[in-house]
């Protein structure tokens, strides 16, 4: 026992010695990081969720970024002033947490000395990474994150290729308000309390008010609860439109609840969630007639020149490489790479980029106005959606005959919207 006490005492002294040394060390000044060593390829940092709860989405962005880098390298690299420079992607997992996203950014910038960064899948991790890219003045484009919170902060070095969900979710409401008759008069909105879903629900409400559709019920519920009471409350209002702000899983459960309750609105509206294969699988033929929104599908008629000429060509090459159909996030991630590539070509910057070139790259991105297979890429330079892609027009989609069809708004339609949705017992 006595021995035990003694050893404790020594430990105590040991600690203070260690802490003293640490404190002393902390009084000296560290050298600043020097210039990157010469190389003839671009080092591109990628921070995204490869593990943790967002790993699925993180891998979606990874496929999009890989598609860009591999296609560029197959052509010999990015052509700048007559010479081609290959790109090397360096991944850093953000473990689906903001704290790790910040360390990941710090590592890619200070250890790997990357030229620029392709950003995370989720908005939370992006909001932790953006201050780091800001601090080191390194250009950063996210091919997935889109929360209005990111753009409200007006980060100088952060850009995004996907328009905010608040803009995107308007598309199906606008289509229903302008392209069908009789025009729906009322809407009930049910949302989930995560940032993405809540913004979508708010966007439905704003759009409904803008297009003269009366909001008869608006409710936000926690994820994972039993949605039957909330759906039942919406049914009691007998709305023409039932809009769901959520990811696909909750949307599937809400639509199932609506079927059980024999809730027959004239239109079911969702947004991105309904474009996923899981939505289709989870609901089977009950997915039919559901409206949604996206910023990109492989059927659109864009004509482009950089890397891929059409959405169709991209989709075919993507499927040959990964065995799955690309969705809008993969396309937007590839487009993030294309935006960098085109801006680099314009400023004729060669690797490694020095600070002046990185700043010139940001200036070029701000002026960028290009047509890609993903659609127009043009970053906003003012307003609430600063540096998000303002060039792209979101599209309304609907399941018709088991397929996703572009139904609006207006001239974007490739088919007429089917409205009203027949009651459950007559489908």
């Amino acid at each position: 026992m006595r021995e035990d006490c003694l050893s404790r005492l020594n430990w105590g002294r040991g600690l203070f010695l260690i802490l003293l040394v640490v404190s002393l060390l902390s009084l000296t000044v560290s050298p600043t990081t020097g210039a990157a060593p010469a190389r003839d390829f671009f080092k591109v940092g990628v921070v995204t969720s490869l593990s943790g709860e967002l790993a699925f989405g993180g891998n979606v962005t990874k496929r999009g970024y890989d598609m860009w880098a591999d296609t560029v390298n197959q052509l010999g690299g990015i052509e700048i002033a007559g010479k081609r420079y290959r790109v090397q992607l360096i991944y850093a997992d953000d473990q689906s947490t903001p704290a790790t996203a910040a360390v990941a950014g710090e590592r890619l910038i200070t250890q790997e000395q990357v030229d620029f960064i392709l950003g995370p899948y989720a908005s939370g991790t992006t909001l932790a990474l953006a201050p780091i890219t800001e601090k080191y003045k390194v250009p950063h484009i996210t091919g997935s994150a889109e929360s209005p919170l990111i753009w409200q902060r007006k980060f100088k070095y952060t850009f995004g290729t996907i328009p905010p969900v608040s803009i995107n979710a308007q598309a199906p409401i606008q289509t229903l308000a302008q392209d069908v008759s009789p025009k729906p008069q009322t809407i009930a909105i049910l949302g989930i309390d995560d940032p993405f879903s809540k913004f979508a629900a708010e966007a439905f409400r704003t759009a409904a008010q803008k297009f003269g559709i009366k909001v008869v019920r608006y409710e936000i519920v926690p994820e994972g609860s039993d949605y039957t009471p909330a759906v039942s409350a919406a049914k009691a209002q007998n709305p023409d439109i039932f809009a769901i702000g959520s990811h696909e899983k909750a949307a599937i459960e809400m639509i199932k609840a609506a079927k059980e309750l024999k809730f027959n609105p004239k239109a079911f509206v969702q947004h991105y969630g309904m474009t996923t294969p899981d939505f289709r699988k989870g609901l089977g033929k009950d997915a039919e007639y559901v409206f949604g929104a996206s910023v990109w599908t492989a059927n659109l008629n864009y004509k482009a020149t950089i890397l891929f000429t059409t959405p169709k060509e991209y989709a075919e090459k993507f499927k040959a490489k990964f065995g799955t159909e690309p969705d809008y996030t993969e396309a937007a991630s590839t487009a993030a790479g294309i935006a960098f590539q085109e801006a680099l070509r314009q400023i004729k910057a060669t690797p490694p980029l020095d600070q002046a070139e990185k700043d010139a790259l940001v200036a070029a991105l701000e002026k960028l106005n290009i047509m890609t297979f993903y659609g127009p890429v043009k970053f906003a330079t003012s307003g609430d959606y600063y540096h998000s892609n303002a060039g792209l027009q979101p599209i309304a989609l609907q399941y018709q005959g088991g397929k996703l069809v572009e139904v609006g708004p207006g001239k974007l339609a490739l088919a007429k919207p089917r409205y009203p949705t027949p009651p459950w017992d007559r489908r």
Partner: protein
Amino acid sequence: MAVPLFVSSFWLRIATEVLMWAGLAQSWNIIGGYTGYLSFGHGAFFGIGAYTTAILMVHAGWPFWPTLPVGAVLSVLCAATIGIPTLRLRGAYFAIATWAFGEAVRQVATVLEITGGAFGMQLPPFLNLPFFYEAILIATILTYLLAYLLLERSMFGYKLRAIRENEIAAETAGVDTVVTKIEAFALSAIPAAIFGGLYAYLITYIHPDSVLGPAITDLMVVMVLFGGVGTLWGPLVGATAIQLVNRLLWFLRGESTLYLVYAGVAICLVVLFMPDGLMGLVERRRVLFRPRENLKALLRQFKL
């Protein structure tokens, strides 16, 4: 500002994280280790500290420093409020109540307007990493100094250990066990809240899932178990080992996620075969190849 010599900001950030987790693990160790009461809601105090700092800075325009004591006081009040009814009971009730408290705080933060709800909150960016390193270093030193003085060198510490080893005997010997336990729980909430405030300002973005999610508490518990439950240096050793190994594996094997598996296996092995954690090895105590007894001893310590 002052920075450790020859350290790039990447390693400085990792050192900052390690120090923060060492402090957080010690805060859990006060109630979980020294007192033997499992707090599964300890992350809530971290979150309360983080949100207090965020709300006061964003909505009330406060400077950073004064927000820290406010968060600490709020956490102490919360700890006392939960402790007064639940610490009269023994066994698993406290663990269940603290778990429920943690979940409740997370749900409240998700619903309220002032916390930004599900959108989370952004703090004014102050990207001076050396500042955070120094601040967290000082907070960690103070936490360990507090633990050393109060738990290793005072009557209070003996009372807590008496409660852990045999609560009935402690009471017979004249220890007011309920009050002592509540004091320990309230004390343990203070460092957690301080580090919460520091974290919020360091990362500049907080969300109910990132500062109030179960992962915060889980890591504190695992670090203490790994290092050595109820010892002064166990939390430091455990936090350093886990956070550093996590980051090194992440750094060296960054493109695969296999490092999570390595970390999980290592934690299982320590809990099963090294009942005294890494500190047990340092003190040349034992590696015991009797996992069943080791687990039983652990459960006994937590009165389960």
